[in-house]
C-alpha cells in the first residue's frame, strides 16, 4: 500500500487550500502545528478500513460490507474500541467542502465547489443502521491511487504475467493473478454500466470514444493470453511438472483443478465483458443513449395534490411499472404439501397401530366410562335387569369432566363391552317407557332399553 505517497503528494496542497493568507501580505513559512497527538493511529485505522472495504467488495460484490470483521481486526491490533472504528468510518463518510478555481468563459475565473466527492465511505441510505458501509466512488479511487495507476489498458500486461507464471512454473501465483484480472474486468464493467445508465458522463464518454478500439484490443489480448496460458498448462510436460509441484508443500492448498478453474473463470468473465462492451459500442454508435436522469418525485407527489391525474392514467402507471398480480390461480405443488402430509399421517396411523403400542395412548372416552362404572353396572345386573332410565337416574351420565350419555347408550348397544368373557348379556326393549328429564335440560323419550343377563346365566 502506498498511502504515504498519496498523502505526501497532497498534504501541502490541502494546507494551501486552508491557508488564511490575505493578498499582499509578507512572506512567512507554513504553520507546522498539526492538531492531534501525531501517533498516526487514526490514519492507520482509516486506511485499514478503506483497504478492507475495497477487498471485501472485490470478493463478494455485495451491496454493503458488514463491519464486524474489520472492527475485531482493528480492536485486536490497536487499543481502540468498536465506537472508535465507527467514529473513523463516520469521519470518512462526512463530506467536506473544497473550493477550486477554474478558467471559465472569457478568461474569467470561476469558483468550483466539491463536496460529495470528499466522502470516501457511504452508509446505507434512509436508515440509521451503522453495522455496514462501503466505499464511495471517491473512496475506491483513493484506494486505486494508493495502489498506483491501474487501468483496463494495462490489463493485457497482467494477462501476460499469467503466461509467464505458467512458463516459470510459478503456479502459486496463478490464482492471485487471476483474481487481480477478474477484479479489473469487474471494475471496467462498472464503468461501462455507468455510461449506459448515468447522465452527464461526458468525460468518460469522450474517453471511451477515444480509446474504443484500444479497449477492444485489450479485451482480445487478455482473452488470447489466457487461452495461450491455458494451452501451455495443458501440455504433457507442464502437467507433469504441476503434478510434481502439487506433491510439494507449496501445493498444499491446490487441487489438480485449481489452475484450470482460474483460467475458466477469467475466460467467462472476459466473454461477458466483451458482450457488455459490444452493447455499449452499439448504443454509442446508434446515438441511442437515452438516459433518464434525476426526476423530482417528491415535487410531483405534491403537484398531484393540485393537479390530480385521471383514474385511467393511474391505472396505466400501475399496470406499467406498479405491482401486479396474476389474475389466474398459479399454485405450486408446495402449496399443497401441508394438506398432503396430513393425509399421509392419517393413513399411516390406521395402518401402523400395534396393539401393545395402543396401551401407551390416553384411554378413550369409552374406556374411561367403563373403568368408572363397569363394576357398578355389573353388580346392579346381578340384582336384576337394568333399564336405561334407571341408569340415568343413578347418575351414570357423567365421568369427571365429560358428558357420558353416548357411552352409556353405547353399552346398551354393545353389552359385550361390559364383560367380554361371555356373551350372555342381552338387551330388550320396553316400548315408550322412557321419559326422563336430563340434568342438562334435554329430555329422553321413547323406548326404554333394558340390559339383563340371559336366563341361562343365572
Amino acid at each position: 500500500m502506498e498511502w504515504p505517497i498519496l498523502l505526501a503528494s497532497t498534504a501541502r496542497l490541502l494546507d494551501l487550500h486552508d491557508s488564511d493568507r490575505t493578498v499582499g501580505g509578507s512572506i512567512y513559512s507554513p504553520d507546522e502545528r498539526r492538531r492531534g497527538a501525531g501517533t498516526g493511529l487514526w490514519l492507520d485505522v482509516g486506511t485499514r478500513l478503506l483497504q478492507y472495504l475495497y477487498e471485501r467488495d472485490l470478493e463478494s460484490n455485495e451491496a454493503w460490507v458488514p463491519l464486524e470483521g474489520i472492527i475485531s481486526e482493528i480492536t485486536q491490533l490497536h487499543d481502540v474500541t468498536r465506537e472508535d472504528v465507527i467514529f473513523v468510518a463516520n469521519y470518512l463518510a462526512t463530506p467536506t467542502r473544497l473550493i477550486t478555481l477554474k478558467d471559465g468563459e472569457n478568461g474569467a475565473q470561476q469558483r468550483q465547489t466539491y463536496k460529495r466527492e470528499t466522502a470516501l465511505v457511504e452508509w446505507p441510505k434512509n436508515t440509521n443502521r451503522r453495522d455496514r458501509c462501503r466505499l464511495s466512488a471517491s473512496g475506491t479511487r483513493a484506494v486505486l491511487l494508493s495502489q498506483a495507476a491501474q487501468n483496463w489498458l494495462y490489463a493485457a500486461d497482467d494477462a501476460g504475467k499469467l503466461e509467464r507464471a505458467i512458463n516459470y512454473g510459478a503456479y502459486a501465483d496463478v490464482p492471485q493473478l487471476a483474481e487481480g484480472l477478474i477484479s479489473q474486468i469487474r471494475r471496467f464493467s462498472k464503468e461501462i454500466t455507468l455510461l449506459l445508465e448515468r447522465q452527464h458522463m461526458e468525460d468518460l464518454l469522450s474517453d471511451f470514444a477515444e480509446h474504443r478500439d484500444d479497449y477492444m484490443k485489450v479485451i482480445t489480448e487478455v482473452q488470447g493470453s489466457v487461452e495461450a496460458a491455458s494451452e501451455q498448462f495443458n501440455t504433457k510436460q507442464t502437467k507433469e511438472q504441476y503434478s510434481r509441484w502439487l506433491e510439494t508443500e507449496a501445493g498444499i492448498s491446490f487441487t489438480p483443478y485449481t489452475i484450470t478453474q482460474s483460467f475458466t473463470e477469467i475466460l467467462q468473465a472476459v466473454e461477458r465483458l466483451s458482450r457488455k462492451f459490444q452493447k455499449l459500442v452499439s448504443v454509442l454508435a446508434s446515438s441511442k443513449r437515452e438516459v433518464i436522469g434525476l426526476v423530482r418525485f417528491d415535487l410531483a407527489a405534491v403537484g398531484l395534490a393540485f393537479h390530480p391525474c385521471s383514474d385511467s392514467i393511474t391505472e396505466l402507471c400501475i399496470a406499467g411499472v406498479g405491482p401486479w398480480s396474476a389474475d389466474i390461480a398459479a399454485p405450486s405443488p408446495l402449496d399443497f404439501s401441508g394438506i398432503l402430509s396430513l393425509q399421509q399421517e392419517e393413513d399411516s396411523n390406521t395402518t401402523l397401530v400395534f396393539d401393545d403400542e395402543a396401551i401407551d395412548e390416553l384411554p378413550s372416552l369409552i374406556e374411561r366410562f367403563l373403568s368408572a362404572y363397569r363394576e357398578e353396572i355389573l353388580s346392579q345386573l346381578r340384582v336384576g335387569p337394568v333399564p336405561l332410565s334407571s341408569a340415568v337416574e343413578k347418575g351414570w351420565l357423567t365421568v369427571e369432566d365429560f358428558d357420558a350419555l353416548p357411552q352409556l347408550i353405547g353399552v346398551y348397544a354393545s353389552p359385550e363391552w361390559l364383560d367380554d368373557t361371555n356373551s350372555e348379556l342381552a338387551v330388550s326393549v320396553a316400548p315408550n317407557a322412557l321419559d326422563i328429564q336430563l340434568p342438562d335440560g334435554n329430555r329422553l323419550e321413547g323406548d326404554d332399553l333394558i340390559l339383563h343377563w340371559l336366563k341361562s346365566h343365572s
Binding site: 468550483q112 454500466t193 448515468r198 433518464i292 417528491d298 415535487l299 393537479h307 391525474c309 396505466l316 411499472v321
Partner: protein, 262 residues
C-alpha cells in the same frame, strides 16, 4: 429445456418474478436452485424460444451476471419483466392494489388509487430523488434501501405539507379530503398495505425486519418503462406547478446534488 422444465421455470417466475442462483439478501426459496440450474444449462437458442413463448403474454426474461452489482460472484439472476406491451397480457391484474389499499373496507376506488399513487411517489423520491439517482440507474438498486419508519415519516410529512398549503393555494379538495381524512394509525396501515403489495409483486424485498430494498426487477422495470407510464402524469404535473415546493427541498440532501460550479 424440456417441456416439463419450461413449465417449472414459467410457473416459478409467475409466482416469484425472479430467480437468483445464489441469493444475497435471503435464503434460497424451495425449488429456486432447481429452476436456476435449468436456466443456467439452457442454450441461448432455448432461452430465445422461451422468450418467444413469454412475449405474447406481455413478459420477457432478462438475465444478469456477476458483472452486475449485487449479483453473487459466479451467480446469475433472472427476472420476469413486463415487456411494456401491457394490453397483450390478459391475466396481468392490478385489482389487488385497490383491494389491499382499501384498509377500511369501504374506501372508494378513487381513494385507494390516490393513496397508492402518493405513497408510491414518496417511495420513489426516497430511492431516486433524495439519493441523487437517475431513473436509468438500474445497477444502483443495491443502494435503494429504506426503512419502513423512514417511508412512513416521509408520507406523514408529505400529508402535513399538503394540509399546510391546503385549499387556499388551490389544491384539489378531493385529494386533500382523502389524504387529510386519516385517523390514528391509518397512515401506518396504508404504508403496510403498500409494502405488502410491492413485496408480493417482487418490486421490493424485505432485507431485514422493517428494512427494505428495491429489487433488480423493480429498478429494471422503472428504467425501461418510466417513459411510457409515470412520466405522463409527472411531466404534466411538473409543467403545471408554479411556486410549489416539496417539503425539505432545501435540506442537505439536495445540496449534495449541486456539486460543481457555483
Amino acid at each position: 429445456m424440456e417441456m416439463e422444465e419450461i413449465g417449472r421455470v414459467y410457473h416459478y417466475l409467475l409466482k416469484h418474478r425472479s430467480i437468483e442462483s445464489k441469493p444475497q439478501l435471503r435464503k434460497s426459496r424451495p425449488d429456486e436452485t432447481l429452476v436456476a440450474s435449468i436456466l443456467r444449462s439452457a442454450s441461448i437458442d432455448q432461452l430465445e424460444r422461451f422468450n418467444e413463448f413469454l412475449a405474447p403474454q406481455g413478459f420477457k426474461l432478462v438475465e444478469f451476471d456477476d458483472l452486475t452489482r449485487g449479483v453473487a460472484v459466479a451467480g446469475r439472476v433472472w427476472i420476469l419483466a413486463r415487456s411494456g406491451e401491457v394490453s397483450t397480457s390478459s391475466f396481468l391484474s392490478t385489482e389487488r392494489v385497490y383491494s389491499e389499499m382499501n384498509i377500511r373496507g369501504k374506501d372508494s376506488r378513487e381513494a385507494s388509487a390516490v393513496w397508492f399513487l402518493h405513497i408510491w411517489l414518496i417511495y420513489l423520491s426516497l430511492i431516486y430523488t433524495r439519493a441523487g439517482r437517475g431513473v436509468s440507474e438500474v445497477s444502483s438498486y443495491v443502494d435503494a434501501t429504506f426503512s419502513r419508519e423512514v417511508l412512513e415519516e416521509s408520507v406523514l410529512e408529505h400529508i402535513a405539507h399538503i394540509r399546510q398549503m391546503g385549499l387556499s393555494d388551490g389544491a384539489s379538495s378531493k385529494v386533500v379530503a382523502i389524504l387529510d381524512g386519516e385517523k390514528g394509525k391509518d397512515v401506518s396501515r396504508r404504508v403496510s398495505a403498500f409494502l405488502k403489495l410491492m413485496t408480493a409483486a417482487g418490486l421490493i424485498q424485505e432485507s431485514e425486519k422493517n428494512e427494505y430494498q428495491q429489487t433488480l426487477l423493480g429498478a429494471y422495470e422503472i428504467a425501461e418503462y418510466y417513459d411510457k407510464s409515470l412520466r405522463i402524469p409527472i411531466d404534466n404535473t411538473l409543467d403545471n406547478i408554479v411556486n410549489i415546493v416539496a417539503p425539505n427541498s432545501e435540506d442537505k440532501n439536495t445540496e449534495e446534488l449541486t456539486d460543481g460550479i457555483d
